[in-house]
Point group: C2
Chain length 200, copies 2
DNA sequence: GTCTATATAATGATAGAC
DNA sequence: GTCTATCATTATATAGAC
Protein backbone atom coordinates (compact mmCIF):
# COMPACT_ATOMS: atom_id res chain seq x y z
CA UNK A 1 0.00 0.00 0.00
CA UNK A 2 1.73 3.14 -1.15
CA UNK A 3 0.81 6.44 0.37
CA UNK A 4 1.68 8.69 -2.53
CA UNK A 5 2.74 11.89 -0.80
CA UNK A 6 2.57 13.56 -4.12
CA UNK A 7 6.08 14.09 -5.32
CA UNK A 8 4.26 16.01 -7.99
CA UNK A 9 3.31 18.81 -5.65
CA UNK A 10 6.76 20.28 -5.27
CA UNK A 11 10.29 19.69 -4.10
CA UNK A 12 11.36 16.59 -5.91
CA UNK A 13 13.85 14.13 -4.53
CA UNK A 14 17.00 15.92 -3.27
CA UNK A 15 15.99 15.82 0.34
CA UNK A 16 18.34 13.20 1.61
CA UNK A 17 20.76 13.91 4.41
CA UNK A 18 18.76 16.79 5.81
CA UNK A 19 17.07 16.32 9.13
CA UNK A 20 14.57 19.14 8.83
CA UNK A 21 13.24 18.28 5.40
CA UNK A 22 13.13 14.58 6.23
CA UNK A 23 11.00 15.37 9.24
CA UNK A 24 8.72 17.44 7.07
CA UNK A 25 8.42 14.70 4.49
CA UNK A 26 7.44 12.18 7.15
CA UNK A 27 4.88 14.56 8.60
CA UNK A 28 3.40 15.20 5.18
CA UNK A 29 3.17 11.50 4.45
CA UNK A 30 1.62 10.89 7.85
CA UNK A 31 -1.03 13.53 7.25
CA UNK A 32 -2.11 11.87 4.03
CA UNK A 33 -1.93 8.34 5.37
CA UNK A 34 -3.74 8.95 8.66
CA UNK A 35 -6.43 10.93 6.87
CA UNK A 36 -7.00 8.21 4.32
CA UNK A 37 -6.68 5.09 6.45
CA UNK A 38 -7.01 6.19 10.07
CA UNK A 39 -4.70 5.58 13.02
CA UNK A 40 -5.18 1.81 13.12
CA UNK A 41 -5.38 1.44 9.36
CA UNK A 42 -1.82 2.39 8.52
CA UNK A 43 1.61 1.31 9.75
CA UNK A 44 4.78 3.27 10.32
CA UNK A 45 6.47 1.30 7.56
CA UNK A 46 4.00 2.54 4.98
CA UNK A 47 4.14 6.10 6.26
CA UNK A 48 7.90 5.99 6.02
CA UNK A 49 7.73 4.57 2.53
CA UNK A 50 5.49 7.45 1.50
CA UNK A 51 8.23 9.81 2.65
CA UNK A 52 10.95 7.84 0.90
CA UNK A 53 12.68 6.74 4.10
CA UNK A 54 12.72 3.69 6.33
CA UNK A 55 10.49 3.07 9.28
CA UNK A 56 13.31 3.65 11.71
CA UNK A 57 13.44 7.36 10.98
CA UNK A 58 9.84 7.79 12.01
CA UNK A 59 10.62 6.76 15.53
CA UNK A 60 13.91 8.61 15.40
CA UNK A 61 12.27 11.94 14.62
CA UNK A 62 8.95 11.56 16.39
CA UNK A 63 9.53 9.05 19.16
CA UNK A 64 6.62 6.76 18.40
CA UNK A 65 3.63 6.27 16.14
CA UNK A 66 1.42 7.87 18.76
CA UNK A 67 3.58 10.98 19.02
CA UNK A 68 3.69 11.23 15.25
CA UNK A 69 -0.09 11.10 15.20
CA UNK A 70 -0.32 13.79 17.85
CA UNK A 71 1.91 16.11 15.86
CA UNK A 72 -0.02 15.32 12.69
CA UNK A 73 -3.32 16.18 14.34
CA UNK A 74 -1.88 19.36 15.77
CA UNK A 75 -0.57 20.36 12.37
CA UNK A 76 -3.91 19.75 10.66
CA UNK A 77 -6.08 21.57 13.17
CA UNK A 78 -3.67 24.44 13.70
CA UNK A 79 -4.45 26.03 10.35
CA UNK A 80 -7.74 27.89 10.64
CA UNK A 81 -10.36 26.78 8.17
CA UNK A 82 -14.00 27.27 9.02
CA UNK A 83 -13.19 29.89 11.60
CA UNK A 84 -12.00 32.42 9.09
CA UNK A 85 -15.55 33.18 8.08
CA UNK A 86 -18.09 35.24 9.92
CA UNK A 87 -21.30 33.68 11.14
CA UNK A 88 -23.35 35.27 8.37
CA UNK A 89 -21.62 33.49 5.48
CA UNK A 90 -20.55 30.41 7.41
CA UNK A 91 -23.68 28.34 6.87
CA UNK A 92 -23.72 28.71 3.10
CA UNK A 93 -20.00 28.21 2.82
CA UNK A 94 -19.90 25.02 4.85
CA UNK A 95 -22.99 23.59 3.19
CA UNK A 96 -21.59 24.20 -0.27
CA UNK A 97 -18.19 22.79 0.65
CA UNK A 98 -19.57 19.63 2.18
CA UNK A 99 -22.08 18.87 -0.53
CA UNK A 100 -19.72 19.80 -3.34
CA UNK A 101 -17.45 17.50 -5.24
CA UNK A 102 -14.65 16.10 -3.17
CA UNK A 103 -12.29 16.37 -6.08
CA UNK A 104 -10.50 19.58 -5.17
CA UNK A 105 -8.40 19.75 -2.07
CA UNK A 106 -10.59 21.05 0.72
CA UNK A 107 -8.60 21.04 3.92
CA UNK A 108 -11.70 21.37 6.04
CA UNK A 109 -12.83 18.00 4.84
CA UNK A 110 -9.45 16.49 5.55
CA UNK A 111 -9.40 17.56 9.16
CA UNK A 112 -12.68 15.88 9.86
CA UNK A 113 -11.74 12.78 7.91
CA UNK A 114 -8.63 12.43 10.01
CA UNK A 115 -10.85 12.54 13.07
CA UNK A 116 -13.55 10.21 11.78
CA UNK A 117 -11.17 7.47 10.71
CA UNK A 118 -9.04 7.54 13.87
CA UNK A 119 -11.43 8.25 16.71
CA UNK A 120 -12.22 4.58 17.29
CA UNK A 121 -8.77 4.16 18.77
CA UNK A 122 -8.90 5.36 22.39
CA UNK A 123 -5.45 6.91 22.45
CA UNK A 124 -6.09 8.65 19.15
CA UNK A 125 -9.42 9.87 20.51
CA UNK A 126 -7.69 11.50 23.48
CA UNK A 127 -5.32 13.32 21.18
CA UNK A 128 -8.11 14.41 18.85
CA UNK A 129 -10.40 15.61 21.61
CA UNK A 130 -7.68 17.76 23.10
CA UNK A 131 -6.64 19.29 19.81
CA UNK A 132 -10.18 19.93 18.60
CA UNK A 133 -11.13 21.59 21.83
CA UNK A 134 -8.12 23.88 21.74
CA UNK A 135 -8.37 24.89 18.09
CA UNK A 136 -12.06 24.66 17.28
CA UNK A 137 -14.69 24.82 19.87
CA UNK A 138 -13.66 27.83 21.87
CA UNK A 139 -13.25 30.13 18.88
CA UNK A 140 -16.40 28.77 17.34
CA UNK A 141 -18.45 29.50 20.44
CA UNK A 142 -17.19 33.08 20.37
CA UNK A 143 -18.27 33.29 16.77
CA UNK A 144 -21.83 32.29 17.66
CA UNK A 145 -23.49 34.90 19.84
CA UNK A 146 -26.92 34.36 21.25
CA UNK A 147 -28.40 31.78 23.59
CA UNK A 148 -27.15 28.21 23.96
CA UNK A 149 -23.88 28.91 22.19
CA UNK A 150 -22.26 25.78 23.60
CA UNK A 151 -25.13 23.62 22.52
CA UNK A 152 -25.23 25.14 19.05
CA UNK A 153 -21.51 24.66 18.58
CA UNK A 154 -21.82 21.03 19.62
CA UNK A 155 -24.61 20.47 17.12
CA UNK A 156 -22.81 22.40 14.41
CA UNK A 157 -19.76 20.19 14.70
CA UNK A 158 -21.96 17.10 15.00
CA UNK A 159 -23.72 17.86 11.76
CA UNK A 160 -20.47 18.43 9.88
CA UNK A 161 -18.94 15.25 11.30
CA UNK A 162 -22.04 13.16 10.68
CA UNK A 163 -22.46 14.37 7.14
CA UNK A 164 -18.88 13.58 6.26
CA UNK A 165 -19.14 10.23 7.97
CA UNK A 166 -22.16 9.15 5.97
CA UNK A 167 -20.93 10.72 2.73
CA UNK A 168 -17.17 10.15 2.64
CA UNK A 169 -16.49 7.31 5.06
CA UNK A 170 -19.54 5.04 5.09
CA UNK A 171 -20.54 6.15 1.60
CA UNK A 172 -24.13 5.38 2.47
CA UNK A 173 -26.74 4.75 -0.16
CA UNK A 174 -28.90 7.56 1.19
CA UNK A 175 -26.09 9.95 0.35
CA UNK A 176 -25.26 8.36 -2.96
CA UNK A 177 -28.84 8.57 -4.16
CA UNK A 178 -29.32 12.13 -2.95
CA UNK A 179 -29.14 15.10 -5.26
CA UNK A 180 -26.13 17.28 -4.35
CA UNK A 181 -27.93 20.54 -4.95
CA UNK A 182 -30.92 19.59 -2.83
CA UNK A 183 -28.56 18.26 -0.21
CA UNK A 184 -26.68 21.55 -0.03
CA UNK A 185 -29.98 23.43 0.24
CA UNK A 186 -31.30 21.30 3.09
CA UNK A 187 -27.93 21.33 4.79
CA UNK A 188 -27.76 25.11 4.60
CA UNK A 189 -31.13 25.42 6.27
CA UNK A 190 -29.96 23.33 9.17
CA UNK A 191 -26.77 25.32 9.58
CA UNK A 192 -28.66 28.58 9.57
CA UNK A 193 -30.98 27.22 12.20
CA UNK A 194 -27.94 26.73 14.40
CA UNK A 195 -25.98 29.84 13.58
CA UNK A 196 -28.80 32.36 13.81
CA UNK A 197 -29.20 33.44 17.42
CA UNK A 198 -32.88 32.64 17.55
CA UNK A 199 -34.09 31.56 20.97
CA UNK A 200 -35.73 28.17 21.39
CA UNK B 1 -9.40 -6.92 28.60
CA UNK B 2 -12.57 -8.71 29.56
CA UNK B 3 -15.71 -8.19 27.61
CA UNK B 4 -18.23 -8.95 30.31
CA UNK B 5 -21.14 -10.37 28.39
CA UNK B 6 -23.20 -10.04 31.48
CA UNK B 7 -23.60 -13.46 32.97
CA UNK B 8 -25.99 -11.59 35.21
CA UNK B 9 -28.54 -11.18 32.49
CA UNK B 10 -29.61 -14.79 32.31
CA UNK B 11 -28.56 -18.35 31.69
CA UNK B 12 -25.59 -18.87 33.92
CA UNK B 13 -22.87 -21.34 33.13
CA UNK B 14 -24.37 -24.70 32.08
CA UNK B 15 -24.04 -24.00 28.43
CA UNK B 16 -21.12 -26.24 27.61
CA UNK B 17 -21.38 -28.93 24.99
CA UNK B 18 -24.25 -27.30 23.17
CA UNK B 19 -23.57 -25.92 19.75
CA UNK B 20 -26.57 -23.63 19.52
CA UNK B 21 -26.14 -21.89 22.86
CA UNK B 22 -22.40 -21.59 22.36
CA UNK B 23 -22.99 -19.84 19.08
CA UNK B 24 -25.42 -17.51 20.77
CA UNK B 25 -22.99 -16.74 23.57
CA UNK B 26 -20.27 -15.86 21.08
CA UNK B 27 -22.63 -13.65 19.11
CA UNK B 28 -23.73 -11.85 22.26
CA UNK B 29 -20.15 -11.30 23.35
CA UNK B 30 -19.28 -10.06 19.87
CA UNK B 31 -22.12 -7.56 19.90
CA UNK B 32 -20.90 -6.04 23.14
CA UNK B 33 -17.23 -6.10 22.19
CA UNK B 34 -17.58 -4.70 18.66
CA UNK B 35 -19.90 -1.97 19.92
CA UNK B 36 -17.52 -0.94 22.68
CA UNK B 37 -14.17 -1.29 20.91
CA UNK B 38 -14.88 -1.40 17.18
CA UNK B 39 -13.81 -3.96 14.59
CA UNK B 40 -10.11 -3.23 14.82
CA UNK B 41 -10.16 -2.62 18.55
CA UNK B 42 -10.98 -6.12 19.68
CA UNK B 43 -9.58 -9.58 18.96
CA UNK B 44 -11.29 -12.91 18.57
CA UNK B 45 -9.49 -14.13 21.68
CA UNK B 46 -11.18 -11.52 23.82
CA UNK B 47 -14.56 -12.07 22.20
CA UNK B 48 -14.22 -15.78 22.86
CA UNK B 49 -13.19 -15.14 26.44
CA UNK B 50 -16.29 -13.02 26.93
CA UNK B 51 -18.34 -16.02 25.86
CA UNK B 52 -16.43 -18.41 28.08
CA UNK B 53 -14.86 -20.35 25.22
CA UNK B 54 -11.59 -20.38 23.32
CA UNK B 55 -10.83 -18.42 20.18
CA UNK B 56 -10.97 -21.53 18.06
CA UNK B 57 -14.70 -21.86 18.42
CA UNK B 58 -15.26 -18.43 16.97
CA UNK B 59 -13.84 -19.48 13.67
CA UNK B 60 -15.48 -22.87 13.98
CA UNK B 61 -18.94 -21.40 14.23
CA UNK B 62 -18.59 -18.25 12.18
CA UNK B 63 -15.77 -18.94 9.76
CA UNK B 64 -13.73 -15.82 10.43
CA UNK B 65 -13.69 -12.59 12.36
CA UNK B 66 -15.11 -10.78 9.36
CA UNK B 67 -18.04 -13.17 9.04
CA UNK B 68 -18.69 -12.92 12.75
CA UNK B 69 -18.78 -9.15 12.39
CA UNK B 70 -21.18 -9.39 9.46
CA UNK B 71 -23.56 -11.55 11.45
CA UNK B 72 -23.25 -9.24 14.45
CA UNK B 73 -24.11 -6.22 12.34
CA UNK B 74 -27.01 -8.01 10.78
CA UNK B 75 -28.30 -9.03 14.18
CA UNK B 76 -28.08 -5.49 15.56
CA UNK B 77 -29.73 -3.74 12.65
CA UNK B 78 -32.37 -6.39 12.10
CA UNK B 79 -34.38 -5.39 15.16
CA UNK B 80 -36.44 -2.32 14.33
CA UNK B 81 -35.73 0.66 16.55
CA UNK B 82 -36.33 4.14 15.24
CA UNK B 83 -38.60 2.88 12.53
CA UNK B 84 -41.32 1.75 14.88
CA UNK B 85 -42.40 5.33 15.41
CA UNK B 86 -44.39 7.51 13.09
CA UNK B 87 -42.90 10.66 11.68
CA UNK B 88 -44.89 12.88 14.01
CA UNK B 89 -43.35 11.60 17.23
CA UNK B 90 -40.02 10.56 15.77
CA UNK B 91 -38.20 13.86 16.17
CA UNK B 92 -39.01 14.27 19.84
CA UNK B 93 -38.32 10.64 20.57
CA UNK B 94 -34.90 10.56 18.91
CA UNK B 95 -33.85 13.90 20.37
CA UNK B 96 -34.76 12.82 23.88
CA UNK B 97 -33.06 9.46 23.50
CA UNK B 98 -29.84 10.90 22.15
CA UNK B 99 -29.54 13.74 24.64
CA UNK B 100 -30.65 11.60 27.56
CA UNK B 101 -28.46 9.72 29.95
CA UNK B 102 -26.67 6.85 28.36
CA UNK B 103 -27.13 4.79 31.49
CA UNK B 104 -30.08 2.66 30.43
CA UNK B 105 -29.78 0.28 27.57
CA UNK B 106 -30.89 2.07 24.44
CA UNK B 107 -30.39 -0.24 21.53
CA UNK B 108 -30.67 2.58 19.04
CA UNK B 109 -27.53 4.07 20.46
CA UNK B 110 -25.75 0.76 20.32
CA UNK B 111 -26.40 0.25 16.64
CA UNK B 112 -24.84 3.57 15.76
CA UNK B 113 -21.93 3.06 18.12
CA UNK B 114 -21.16 -0.21 16.42
CA UNK B 115 -21.07 1.65 13.14
CA UNK B 116 -19.06 4.64 14.34
CA UNK B 117 -16.33 2.57 15.96
CA UNK B 118 -15.92 0.12 13.07
CA UNK B 119 -16.45 2.15 9.92
CA UNK B 120 -12.79 3.13 9.64
CA UNK B 121 -12.01 -0.42 8.60
CA UNK B 122 -12.82 -0.75 4.89
CA UNK B 123 -14.14 -4.30 5.06
CA UNK B 124 -16.26 -3.44 8.07
CA UNK B 125 -17.52 -0.36 6.22
CA UNK B 126 -18.71 -2.50 3.32
CA UNK B 127 -20.63 -4.75 5.67
CA UNK B 128 -22.13 -1.81 7.54
CA UNK B 129 -23.16 0.07 4.42
CA UNK B 130 -24.96 -2.93 3.04
CA UNK B 131 -26.79 -3.74 6.25
CA UNK B 132 -27.76 -0.15 6.99
CA UNK B 133 -29.12 0.34 3.52
CA UNK B 134 -31.22 -2.80 3.69
CA UNK B 135 -32.63 -2.25 7.17
CA UNK B 136 -32.74 1.50 7.58
CA UNK B 137 -32.75 3.84 4.71
CA UNK B 138 -35.47 2.38 2.54
CA UNK B 139 -38.05 2.12 5.32
CA UNK B 140 -37.06 5.51 6.60
CA UNK B 141 -37.56 7.16 3.25
CA UNK B 142 -41.04 5.66 3.08
CA UNK B 143 -41.72 7.12 6.50
CA UNK B 144 -40.85 10.61 5.31
CA UNK B 145 -43.29 11.82 2.69
CA UNK B 146 -42.78 15.09 0.95
CA UNK B 147 -40.05 16.53 -1.25
CA UNK B 148 -36.41 15.51 -1.10
CA UNK B 149 -37.09 12.40 0.95
CA UNK B 150 -33.73 10.86 0.06
CA UNK B 151 -31.87 13.99 1.05
CA UNK B 152 -33.76 14.36 4.29
CA UNK B 153 -33.12 10.75 5.24
CA UNK B 154 -29.42 11.21 4.54
CA UNK B 155 -29.30 14.29 6.75
CA UNK B 156 -31.42 12.65 9.43
CA UNK B 157 -29.00 9.75 9.72
CA UNK B 158 -26.04 12.12 9.50
CA UNK B 159 -27.25 14.15 12.43
CA UNK B 160 -27.83 11.09 14.58
CA UNK B 161 -24.44 9.66 13.69
CA UNK B 162 -22.62 12.94 14.16
CA UNK B 163 -24.23 13.64 17.49
CA UNK B 164 -23.34 10.24 18.83
CA UNK B 165 -19.84 10.56 17.48
CA UNK B 166 -19.17 13.84 19.24
CA UNK B 167 -21.02 12.85 22.39
CA UNK B 168 -20.23 9.17 22.98
CA UNK B 169 -17.11 8.44 20.96
CA UNK B 170 -15.05 11.61 20.82
CA UNK B 171 -16.59 12.89 24.05
CA UNK B 172 -15.95 16.41 22.87
CA UNK B 173 -15.79 19.32 25.26
CA UNK B 174 -18.55 21.13 23.38
CA UNK B 175 -20.85 18.24 24.26
CA UNK B 176 -19.59 17.88 27.79
CA UNK B 177 -20.15 21.53 28.56
CA UNK B 178 -23.58 21.63 26.93
CA UNK B 179 -26.78 21.48 28.93
CA UNK B 180 -28.64 18.23 28.12
CA UNK B 181 -32.06 19.87 28.17
CA UNK B 182 -31.05 22.68 25.86
CA UNK B 183 -29.31 20.16 23.67
CA UNK B 184 -32.42 18.04 23.35
CA UNK B 185 -34.46 21.14 22.52
CA UNK B 186 -32.10 22.31 19.77
CA UNK B 187 -31.75 18.79 18.48
CA UNK B 188 -35.50 18.38 18.30
CA UNK B 189 -35.83 21.52 16.23
CA UNK B 190 -33.35 20.20 13.71
CA UNK B 191 -35.09 16.85 13.44
CA UNK B 192 -38.44 18.50 12.93
CA UNK B 193 -36.93 20.62 10.20
CA UNK B 194 -36.02 17.40 8.42
CA UNK B 195 -39.07 15.32 9.15
CA UNK B 196 -41.73 17.87 8.36
CA UNK B 197 -42.48 17.82 4.65
CA UNK B 198 -41.87 21.52 4.20
CA UNK B 199 -40.51 22.42 0.77
CA UNK B 200 -37.20 24.24 0.50
C1' DG C 1 -17.92 -30.21 21.17
C1' DT C 2 -14.03 -28.26 22.87
C1' DC C 3 -9.42 -28.03 23.95
C1' DT C 4 -3.95 -27.18 23.59
C1' DA C 5 -0.47 -26.17 20.58
C1' DT C 6 1.13 -24.00 16.61
C1' DA C 7 1.65 -21.90 11.86
C1' DT C 8 2.03 -17.62 9.63
C1' DA C 9 2.06 -12.89 9.10
C1' DA C 10 2.17 -8.30 10.61
C1' DT C 11 2.96 -4.81 13.97
C1' DG C 12 5.83 -1.01 16.79
C1' DA C 13 10.21 -0.32 18.29
C1' DT C 14 15.44 -0.94 18.83
C1' DA C 15 20.69 -2.20 18.11
C1' DG C 16 24.46 -1.48 15.78
C1' DA C 17 26.97 -0.78 11.18
C1' DC C 18 28.35 2.75 7.84
C1' DG D 1 21.81 10.98 8.81
C1' DT D 2 20.33 6.81 7.28
C1' DC D 3 20.48 2.12 6.65
C1' DT D 4 19.91 -3.31 7.41
C1' DA D 5 18.77 -6.66 10.56
C1' DT D 6 16.23 -8.08 14.38
C1' DC D 7 13.52 -8.38 18.78
C1' DA D 8 9.29 -8.87 21.09
C1' DT D 9 4.55 -8.81 20.73
C1' DT D 10 0.23 -9.62 18.84
C1' DA D 11 -3.11 -10.95 15.35
C1' DT D 12 -6.02 -14.42 12.70
C1' DA D 13 -6.47 -18.86 11.56
C1' DT D 14 -5.54 -23.99 11.56
C1' DA D 15 -4.00 -29.07 13.00
C1' DG D 16 -4.66 -32.61 15.67
C1' DA D 17 -5.65 -34.67 20.44
C1' DC D 18 -9.39 -36.02 23.60
Amino acid sequence: MDVDTGNVTGEAAPRRRNAASTREAILRSAKIAFTRYGYDGIGVREIAQGAGVTAMLVNRYFGSKELLFAETVESVFAEPTLLTNDAATLSRFVAATLAGDESDENDHVDGFLLMLRSVSNPRAADILRDSIERHFEQQLAALLPGPDSHERVALFLSLIAGFQLMHNVLDSAAMTRADPAALARRLGVLFQQLLDPAPA
